[in-house]
């Protein structure tokens, strides 16, 4: 079994593994809206491979990072513009 680590999404703990991408960890935690479009439509990962930029989030204070291209690390702080449901 891969070891379990904890990342924080808007300060709430979310379980993950070091092999999991941030996008996958968020989806696994039931988070479906990653951000909103200019006309305030909910958006989530589309391409899964770092092209579309729809899954971008703030990680450890750095905005605009592609959650599908970033692996989870213990204690990582992920900030979404909307409070996860």
């Amino acid at each position: 079994m891969p070891s379990t680590i904890t990342i924080f999404v808007n300060s709430k703990p979310v379980p993950a593994t070091p092999e999991t991408t941030v996008a996958a960890a968020l989806l696994n935690a039931g988070i479906t809206t990653f951000r909103h479009s200019p006309r305030h439509e909910p958006r989530s990962p589309l391409c899964g491979m770092g092209i579309c930029m729809e899954c971008r989030v703030t990680i450890d204070g750095v905005p605009g990072l592609r959650s599908c291209q970033t692996l989870c690390r213990e204690g990582m702080q992920v900030q979404l513009e909307v409070e996860p449901a």
């Binding site: 999991t20 479009s37 439509e41 989530s44 990962p45 391409c47 770092g50 092209i51 291209q69």
Partner: protein
């Protein structure tokens, strides 16, 4: 200034890995970089334990190739790293817009595959896959293996096209096995040809999907919809470096050389054709770049075979006119800037479209909508500017050194 490496390879998918391993076995000093956190590209994604994929990944791990992941080549500074450059930047999915395609829960087909391989747990999720091409079956098979309920695989191509394609597979034994394996593992899921998605419904997330088959439409309750209509080459970096791009793919000669001296291209970048074409092109590029032309020549007939297979793929899975006209007036075409079809239609060329609407000027820089306008109207982005992939400002400020 002497370059630190003999050969730089950009992209650690099948073509790039085959190129890097082949070049290092020729005694070259090789740097292999990839934007993703792990090697393998979109198709292999770091599965070390299975078949050919594991073989190549293990050969790479055992080699003296210097591998740098989570590293992007963003502009012409990549040329300073090695004397010769092999581009293997792969492909992305072609999305065709329909009402509801921007809803959370709607992903690409390769997109869903990538998310699952990244750890997305799909167990007990109801999934509809709709679009075109072999990736539909590969993704459906993976989703089922991970415990998902695959409700339907909707292939827009018609059965006559598919029969012709399947009949041609006997010449490609590797593909035949792959096809049979996929077919077998899918028993129990509905696979429909002549079938496509018309719209997705839901408020904050997809709840149902409207499909069309043989003149009939119905809704399928679904929590995920994976959609994609084949692949398009990632030509941005090649174009930025001045390599000639023709019909959306990098033009190469017999040695996989581009129009720019000392720059080679291999794999999906030179035309969509799958993993076998990618591997053989990667090997040829590396052999040619390390002065082993005679050996490269022995691979030409293999390459011809896989290029014929690739041409068959394109013919078989070309989008039918109906799936090119699914978007409604208010359906976003450019997702980054939320530009609907009504504003995108009727501009005549990419430049006018961009200036008038901001289509293609958002975060993805036209990578998604540009492929769509090319499919719909025959034009798209043609003069990419650096950075070739999104990069932090830090990366742009770095000195011209390694």
């Amino acid at each position: 200034m002497s370059a630190p490496f003999d050969i730089t390879v950009v992209g650690a998918g099948p073509a790039g890995i085959a190129a890097a391993v082949t070049a290092v076995e020729s005694g070259a000093r090789v740097l292999l970089i990839d934007d993703n956190p792990r090697p393998g590209g979109q198709i292999w994604r770091g599965d070390w334990n299975s078949g050919r994929e594991g073989d190549w990944l293990n050969r790479l791990a055992a080699s003296h190739v210097q591998l740098e992941t989570s590293t992007a080549a963003i502009d012409e500074r990549i040329l300073d790293k090695g004397r010769k450059l092999i581009l293997a930047t792969g492909a992305r999915e072609l999305f065709l817009p329909f009402p509801g395609w921007t809803l959370p829960g709607v992903t690409g087909v390769g997109g869903l595959q990538a998310l699952i391989k990244g750890g997305f747990d799909v167990a007990n999720k109801r999934i509809v896959l709709a679009g075109s091409g072999p990736l539909l079956l590969a993704c459906a098979s993976l989703a089922r293996e991970k415990g998902a309920s695959v409700m339907l695989v909707a292939e827009q191509s018609d059965s006559a096209h598919l029969r012709g394609f399947t009949a041609s597979l006997w010449r490609h034994p590797g593909k035949l096995i792959e096809g049979a394996r996929l077919g077998l593992s899918l028993l129990g899921s509905a696979y429909k040809t002549n079938c496509w998605v018309e719209s997705a419904q839901g408020r904050e997330h997809v709840e149902s999907v409207q499909l069309r088959h043989a003149g009939r439409t119905w809704q399928e309750r679904s929590v995920l919809l994976a959609t994609g209509f084949g692949l398009v080459p990632n030509t941005e970096l090649a174009a930025l470096l001045g390599c000639h791009v023709e019909d959306g793919a990098v033009h190469v000669g017999d040695w996989q050389q581009t129009s720019r001296p000392s720059i080679y291209a291999a794999g999906e970048l030179t035309g969509i054709g799958g993993v076998d074409k990618s591997i053989v092109e990667g090997r040829i590029a590396a052999l040619a770049a390390t002065g082993r032309e005679a050996e490269a020549r022995t691979l030409f007939s293999d390459r011809t075979t896989w290029r014929e297979f690739a041409a068959g793929l394109l013919r078989t899975f070309a989008p039918r006119p109906e799936v090119l006209s699914l978007a409604a007036a208010n359906t976003p075409i450019c997702r980054c800037e939320d530009i609907p079809l009504s504003e995108v239609a009727a501009h005549g060329n990419w430049r006018d479209l961009k200036l008038a609407t901001r289509c293609g000027m958002g975060f993805c820089q036209g990578r998604i909508c540009g492929s769509i306008t090319r499919a719909l109207y025959g034009y798209g982005p043609n003069s990419p500017r650096p950075p070739a992939v999104p990069a932090p400002i830090q990366a742009l400020l770095e000195e011209r050194e390694l």
